[in-house]
């Protein structure tokens, strides 16, 4: 298969050897083929978007380019010469650099120390500080070289990543899901500097993403990957969002999840091809249904001092009724995490209380909230949702083993039966109940968490950033499940930094700022401008 035949040849400077050419690359992990005979070319002076769902093989492909994974078959040519890239250092020597999603910074070290990591030769703090200053000036990436990385915001941390990558003056730069941790403004800044990185010295840049809008607006060439194969190649100028979405999932997707996949940059664009306006569909009935009824979950005057002495929660009161989805909107870091932690029994309040069905639940006592009927899909799956080294079946019963154990002894057979039932019901793609959790893709790991929490028949379900890092199909599925849970009478609290997701799913929306609820509106009342002002703390 010759890639030139399907490549938009007009985009390629004639005669020049591509900066990178993947030829017939195949990589298998056990029974799974992560990359299946991939052909792909990257050219100097252009931004190449690689679009695909989680598990489509795009990360694996990039890991081969920077030497973290070796291909089973095929070859990688750099500037026309076939190269074996055995380690990140070898990749760096070939002029390949990567801006990692979240793996390459050491929190305990300072900015300059992080930038110096992985080089050779004498350690010269002065020279490194100077170089950071130069890069800062050249690309508008201003940063304090002596700041401790652990104390920086996500946007600044990424800035450090970019500087660390550019310091080696790479010819080929890979950005791996760069906006997954950024605010909209930070994303805009990022793409501005991305253009500059390309314009200077004709670098080849790869943008790996599952956000359609991002790829559409920030790139020149687009390759779409699905199930380990490159299924489509287009020019960004000739592509549109629905085409990309179809190519990515291989079928029509509902517009909702498509919009969610567009991500944070896209409030305007999404409304541009919007045929399901934010309308008073079920919202009005939900609010009226909740009138005059006793709330299931009631948080009263919750206050909590944060680690820095500033209040994390300030006099926060919130009622949640059976059958409604309440969305908590807000810029990250305004108390949403603490709200989720409070309802997971991880935090004790300084004052205030939490009640379920009118009965007070002690806060900060391990397991109390869960016993009272609160299920939680936690914000960070790997950190607090699952145990990666345990099996799928074991993860499914982490919270409650009563269904599969007698007098504290696990019954393997009923555990197996239970797990198989859950795998069927939630369509979890895996090798079986005994598959280790780490062998599942992110979307399927999240299904396990969802299955476990719903199996408890909770009265209240807290979904904290439930679709973070998931692909279009998984986002769609999660939305359907949350709606189904609400229809079955569960009170759902959706905490999300993806505004689109909140607008799509919630019957009622509350906005958090500085640890308090600064506004509340039903779906029918939503005014985007007002919402934005509330989130920014300006209203």
């Amino acid at each position: 298969m010759e890639s030139g035949s399907t490549d938009p040849a007009g985009a390629v400077p004639a005669g020049a050897a591509p900066a990178v050419a993947f030829r017939n690359i195949t990589k298998r992990f056990g029974a799974v083929t992560a990359c299946d005979r991939v052909d792909l070319e990257l050219h100097r002076g252009r931004i190449h978007g690689i679009l695909g769902e989680n598990g489509a093989g795009k990360s694996t492909l990039m890991k081969m380019l920077i030497g973290l994974v070796l291909p089973d078959e095929g070859s990688i040519r750099i500037d026309g010469e076939s190269r074996a890239i055995h380690s990140p250092l070898a990749a760096a020597n070939l002029g390949i650099g990567m801006v990692h999603q979240h793996f390459s910074l050491v929190d305990a070290l300072t900015v300059w120390e992080n930038v110096a990591l992985g080089e050779a030769g004498r350690l010269d703090p002065g020279a490194i500080r100077n170089r950071i200053g130069e890069i800062a000036e050249q690309y508008g990436l201003v940063i304090d070289p002596d700041a401790r990385v652990g104390e920086l915001t996500a946007g600044l941390r990424q800035r450090v990543e970019i500087i660390k990558c550019l310091r080696r003056d790479p010819n080929i730069v890979i950005f791996d899901e760069p906006t997954s941790v950024l605010t909209p403004e930070e994303s805009v800044q990022l793409f501005a500097s991305l253009r500059q990185v390309v314009a200077d010295e004709g670098r080849a840049v790869v943008l790996v993403s599952h956000k359609l809008d991002e790829v559409l607006h920030a790139t020149d060439d687009i390759s779409i990957m699905r199930q380990g194969q490159v299924v489509d190649r287009l020019l960004a100028a000739e592509a549109d969002a629905p085409t990309l979405a179809r190519g990515m999932v291989g079928r029509e997707v509902s517009l909702r999840s498509e919009r969610a996949a567009l991500g944070v940059l896209s409030v305007d664009e999404a409304n541009g091809f919007d045929d399901t306006p934010i309308a008073p569909t079920t919202g009005s009935t939900a609010t009226s249904a909740s009138d005059g009824r006793r709330p299931v979950l009631s948080i009263t005057n919750a206050s909590l001092r944060g680690s820095g002495g500033t209040p994390a929660l300030q006099d926060l009161s919130l009622d949640l009724h059976a059958g409604e989805i309440v969305g908590v909107a807000g810029v990250e870091g305004n108390g949403q995490r603490e709200l989720g932690d409070l309802l997971s029994s991880l935090l004790s309040l300084d004052s205030g209380s939490v009640s379920i069905d009118g009965t007070r639940v002690p806060d900060g006592r391990s397991g109390a909230m869960a016993r009272a009927g609160i299920g939680v899909i936690p914000e960070d799956r790997h950190d607090s949702g699952i145990v990666l080294d345990m099996t799928l079946a074991e993860n499914l019963v982490l919270v409650d083993q009563s269904a599969v154990a007698q007098r504290g002894v696990l019954d393997r057979r009923s555990l197996d039966r239970f797990a198989r039932a859950m795998i069927d019901e939630f369509a979890i793609q895996c090798a079986g109940p005994d598959a280790p959790m780490w062998s599942l893709s992110g979307g399927n790991q999240q299904r396990v968490v969802l299955a476990r929490e719903l199996a408890q028949n909770p009265k209240v379900l807290i979904a904290a950033q439930p679709t973070r890092g998931l692909d279009v199909g998984a986002i769609e599925y999660m939305g359907e499940r949350l709606e189904a849970a609400a229809e079955a009478g569960v009170a759902v609290l959706l905490i999300s930094s993806e505004l689109e997701e909140i607008l799509d799913l919630s019957h009622r929306i509350v906005v958090m700022h500085s640890g308090r609820i600064v506004g509340e509106m039903t779906r029918s009342e939503v005014d985007l401008e007002q919402l934005g002002l509330l989130m920014g703390g300006a209203a």
Binding site: V69, S87, S104, V106, E113
Partner: protein
């Protein structure tokens, strides 16, 4: 009650309390400085106990054969490095559990040293005393710090060397990064397990000096009980010191104070149950840990093995 305070004052105004304290502190610092480096790289290196004993025994044998103290020092370092090599290669090349390896090594070295001591019976002696004029005349601490046997003064090379290596060299930066976030270090192109092995070798290096110092700077002869669990106190000092070098040295000083106090109680003729007294330094260690252990932040990847690609 009055007699009790008189006794305390008697002990803390006695020169020998300070001299012994300085000796214990020096021994602990030799061990703890290398242990600190190993821990910063992510290994809770409990075989430091065995390293010290191997270093002490090897230096005694080295002296017995050559009658040269510098050669004895080299022999001590080599002996300690052998233990370090087993620890490093087993836990960071073969991925064996670092605690199991460390415990096994400690027991093995103890048995071997006792056996070989009986077989070889190495004879040793004290190193000469260096009295530094003027400074040694300072009351109370003058003799303790400036009139010791000459191996003591190596301390003033090992402490700055350790600081410089960890905070001022690329190797030190990489050591700190593999102890904090090995995945990030790996992605940045650093051989994580190699740095961890090297840091254990550094612990072997300083422990070897410590073992040699114990024989020639303190006791003058070898027995299999010379280390006697003090390697674990060195580990406690690193934790007590919050994984900073300064804190580690302060921890060594505090624990050395307890060890020396115990000696002085008996030396000055006060009658206290000796078994109870024996436990005093360890009680101080436990109390110190209870007070300080939760206030400090350990290297994030301490005692976590690193396997590439898994996370």
């Amino acid at each position: 009650m009055g007699a009790f305070f008189d006794a305390i004052i008697d002990i803390i105004s006695s020169d020998s309390t300070y001299i012994n304290g300085a000796l214990f502190a020096a021994f602990l610092i030799f061990a703890a400085s290398g242990e600190w480096v190993a821990e910063r790289a992510g290994t809770l290196n409990i075989s430091v106990e065995g390293m010290l004993l191997a270093g002490a025994f090897a230096s005694a044998v080295g002296y017995d054969v050559t009658e040269s103290m510098p050669v004895a020092l080299l022999a001590g370092i080599v002996g300690s490095l052998v233990v370090a090599a087993v620890q490093a290669e087993m836990s960071h090349r073969l991925s064996a559990d670092q605690f199991v390896v460390g415990l096994t090594l400690n027991i093995l070295v103890f048995g071997l040293a006792g056996f070989l001591d009986n077989e070889l019976e190495p004879t040793t002696k004290h190193a000469g005393r260096w009295v530094i004029p003027v400074l040694s005349d300072i009351p109370l601490v003058g003799d303790a710090l400036f009139a010791q046997r000459w191996p003591f003064y190596l301390l003033f090379a090992v402490i700055p060397l350790t600081w410089w290596v960890v905070y001022r060299t690329r190797w030190g930066l990489e050591v700190r990064s593999v102890g904090e976030n090995p995945q990030s270090a790996d992605v940045s192109g650093i051989d994580v397990n190699r740095r961890r092995r090297q840091s254990i070798y550094y612990a072997g290096f300083t422990s070897g000096i410590g073992g040699w110092f114990l024989i020639f700077g303190v006791i003058g002869l070898f027995e299999d009980s010379v280390v006697g669990g003090r390697g674990f106190i060195a580990i406690a000092a690193v934790i007590f010191g919050g994984w900073t070098l300064r804190g580690t040295i302060a921890g060594c000083a505090v624990f050395a104070g307890a060890l020396s106090f115990r000696l002085s109680v008996q030396g000055l003729g006060y009658e206290v149950n000796s078994e109870l007294l024996q436990s005093l330094p360890f009680v101080v260690t436990l109390v110190g840990m209870a007070l300080f252990a939760h206030r400090v932040r350990a290297p994030a990847a301490l005692a976590r093995p690193f396997v590439r690609g898994l996370k």
